[in-house]
């Protein structure tokens, strides 16, 4: 029983493993891990740096973020192969934000974002085939091929997209929060936007109204420090996005640390239900350019990109945690990544075979119930 030899010391007692079973930890025993850095707070007391998690959750983080990473890299290749056209904004580097957020909330809470939405679609329960099919404009895509990269939605998981005009999704998100309060649902809405869109006036309008009406709205600035080619310090007089709510509390979070994100979102949800809106700033980074049309290297150095990748990559951070806490071996994690790669490749193959939308689809869904235009 070589497997017995591989048994590691774990906090909880475990039965001996058989050689055929997975050795990677699926324990739900509590584990407390400190965030990379303390939270910076604006007119609120920050949550603790100690995050409650479990081995199983950490493994899940690794798996989910690796899946997202792999999906985005594959989308890069598909775009270069001209199977994906138009605009394609990739999320690699920022996976911790949506993975951590999802761990803190339920599917009854709502999420809305702009166009960097592929991974959030996945974290809300969307599947790979549907995602790739939509990117390639196929009928089985999540928007029937009619939305494209910037218009992923999943209504049954309260994922409201998927928007091309940045900033406009924030009033929508506050409207979702209004509906939640109207219906007394005890749920919250996360409205995600970037450091570029943070300068849109409609954000401040919506925040003002949300504060007045005490809506359970959480505004999340995914600050990857560049609004396309414009660095944050060139676009914002005050790039302290967590403070720009002024009279609304805010929290600055290391967006590359999935546990910090989880803690912040949990804190924000409790706050928003009790007190109204709060702003979260996720300090994150995108490895790709703004979109596939942007090389991403004319306004930042390659050293900066590789530096972040080496020191702050969200997936590597979790890998180190898993290894340090003896929850998995390097080989197991490598195997997991291999499986993920196969899964993604299979999904792409399936999506490639799926048909284009029928010509009649040009006129469907313009109005509800197929009125008139058809």
């Amino acid at each position: 029983m070589a497997a017995a030899m591989l048994l590691r010391r774990l906090p909880a007692a475990r039965p001996p493993l058989m050689a055929a079973t997975r050795l990677i930890s699926d324990s739900t025993a509590p584990l407390t891990i400190e965030t990379s850095m303390p939270f910076t707070a604006h007119i609120v007391d920050p949550p603790s740096r100690d995050v409650a998690t479990t081995p199983a959750e950490l493994v899940a983080f690794f798996h989910d973020m690796s899946l997202m990473r792999r999906m985005e890299i594959a989308a890069d290749s598909l775009y270069k192969a001209k199977l994906i056209r138009g605009f394609c904004h990739l999320y690699d580097g920022q996976e911790a934000v949506c993975a951590g957020m999802e761990a803190a909330i339920t599917r009854k809470d709502s999420i809305i974002t702009a166009y960097r939405d592929h991974c959030i679609f996945l974290s809300r329960g969307g599947d790979l085939v549907t995602a790739f099919a939509e990117l390639m404009g196929r009928q089985v895509g999540c928007s029937r091929g009619k939305g494209g990269s910037m218009h992923f939605y999943k209504k049954d998981a309260n994922f409201y997209g998927g928007h091309g005009i940045v900033g406009a999704q924030v009033p929508l998100g506050c409207g979702l929060a209004f509906a939640q309060k109207y219906r007394k649902e005890d749920t919250v809405s996360f409205s995600l936007y970037g450091d570029g869109a943070a300068n849109q006036g409609q954000l401040f309008e919506a925040l003002n109204i949300s504060a007045l009406w005490k809506l359970p709205a959480i505004l999340v600035c995914e600050n990857n420090h560049y609004g396309m080619g414009t660095a944050e310090w060139r676009a914002a007089k005050s790039p302290s996005y967590y403070k720009r709510g002024d009279y609304v509390p805010g929290l600055k979070v290391d967006g590359m640390d999935v546990l910090a994100v989880k803690q912040a979102c949990k804190f924000a949800k409790e706050h928003a239900i009790a007190n109204g809106p709060i702003v979260l700033e996720m300090d994150t980074y995108r490895y790709h350019g703004h979109s596939m049309s942007d090389p991403g290297s004319t306004y930042r150095t390659r050293d900066e990109i590789s530096g972040v990748r080496q020191e702050r990559d969200p997936i590597e951070r979790v890998r180190k945690l898993l290894l340090a806490h003896d929850l998995a071996t390097p080989a197991e994690l490598k195997d997991m990544e291999k499986e993920i790669r196969k899964e993604v490749d299979a999904a792409i193959a399936k999506a490639k075979e799926s048909p284009m939308p029928d010509a009649s689809e040009l006129f469907t869904n313009v109005y509800v119930k197929g009125f008139g235009v058809e």
Binding site: S143, K146, V170, P171, C174, G175, L176, F178, Q202, F371
Partner: protein, 384 residues
């Protein structure tokens, strides 16, 4: 040509009355509101078949236009708890045109919401709430202010059902007064129907009488599509008797105002009254125009319009909209495309001038179409 089902109540759509319709005798009334199209009555979901005629007399009451709109709001908010109202000064103040007077006391401030001056965001919030299943009625204090929310109306409201592949519907109503008033100045006297008409995914209606204002607002609230309802600043104090019994108007139907045989005059909103004033003169001169209030600006009721043109073979459009790219421009195009063979004369369109509305009274009058111009146009068309 014509949509086969009304999206307002597809399962039991009011049966479309097919032309030619029986002529009604003119009655002694303040305004020509005859030949009113029968509508289906509905009682909280249980729908009854079409009534042949609207009852009048002891089962009707007199209202001003803004009261008719308020009645519609009260009825719909009572029937459906997801209906709410969002706008500036709609709550405590009662609405700048008194449409929501008393509603805040009746329904509370979670359902009648006073907003700051932030059209872009509160329209967006209304759309977000609609995505999540509420049925907001967003009031623009003036249609002109809604230009600030144009991105939300066009890109989110109009497009979300399509870009989500049908996952979301946006059952929102966006309403407010527009049009040229009494020397309100250029920015408060805009005619913006043309700005919204190209947005795919929205419907547009214009009310002109207390009767159709109430009926159209009710229908708009019940519709699962986003509807923009154009009211007019000068029409809020129009008085009319409307039925006590509940009724709705079909969003896509035009209204026969005065049946006739000689030419078809198509109009909407305030210009209906300028047309009817001109008609008095024309009738005295021996003309017999047919007047149709098109009501539905998007889509056009080409069924009613077409049947009229097939009868009269001449058409005049009278509108307050901008000349360039206006409703009349689109309507004329549609008429030429669909009814060219029926026309004996070129379709004429009288629109307002492509200028910002001037302040001076004489210039303001010259901006919009006046009855004398309508008379002259009819005479010219009928003689050609």
């Amino acid at each position: 040509l014509v949509p086969s089902a009304s999206p307002t109540s597809p399962e039991s759509a009011p049966h479309r009355v097919r032309s030619p319709r029986p002529h009604h005798h003119e009655r002694e009334r303040e305004r020509e509101t005859d030949g009113r199209r029968p509508v289906a009555a509905s009682h909280g979901g249980r729908r009854r078949p079409l009534q042949a005629q609207i009852r009048r007399g002891p089962t009707s009451h007199e209202v001003l236009m803004f009261e008719a709109l308020r009645e519609a709001m009260i009825e719909e908010m009572t029937l459906d708890p997801t209906v709410c109202m969002i706008g500036e000064d709609v709550g405590d103040y009662g609405g700048s045109y008194k449409v929501s007077k008393g509603l805040s006391e009746m329904f509370g401030d979670l359902r009648v919401l006073d907003t700051p001056i932030a059209e872009n965001s509160f329209t967006g919030m209304g759309i977000g709430a609609a995505m999540k299943g509420l049925r907001p009625v967003v009031e623009g204090m003036n249609m002109g202010f809604l230009l600030l929310a144009y991105n939300q109306i066009s890109n989110n409201c109009g497009m979300l059902p399509y870009t989500s592949g049908g996952q979301f519907k946006i059952p929102i109503v966006i309403r407010g007064p527009g049009g040229v008033g009494r020397q309100l100045g250029a920015e408060h006297s805009q005619r913006l129907e043309s700005y919204f008409q190209s947005i795919p995914g929205i419907q547009m209606v214009a009310c002109s009488t207390p009767y159709n204002a109430k009926g159209l607002l009710k229908a708009a609230i019940r519709s699962d599509n986003p509807v923009v309802l154009f009211e007019h600043v000068l029409l809020y104090n129009l008085k009319e008797k409307i039925p006590d019994e509940e009724y709705i108007c079909c969003l896509e139907e035009a209204e026969m105002v005065r049946p006739g045989s000689q030419l078809t005059i198509l109009t909407y909103s305030r210009m209906r009254y300028h047309v009817m004033q001109a008609v008095k003169t024309l009738v005295n001169k021996g003309y017999d125009p047919e007047v149709i209030d098109i009501r539905s600006l998007k889509p056009f009721d080409l069924h009613t319009i077409g049947n009229s043109i097939k009868k009269t073979h001449r058409v005049l459009i009278v509108e307050e909209c901008m000349r360039t790219g206006g409703i009349g421009a689109s309507l004329r195009s549609a008429i030429i495309d669909n009814f060219w063979d029926e026309l004996d004369a070129r379709p004429v369109c009288l629109s307002s001038q492509d200028v910002p509305t001037p302040y001076a009274a004489t210039l303001e009058d010259a901006t919009v179409v006046q009855p004398a111009q309508i008379v002259a146009a009819v005479e010219e068309i009928c003689q050609s």
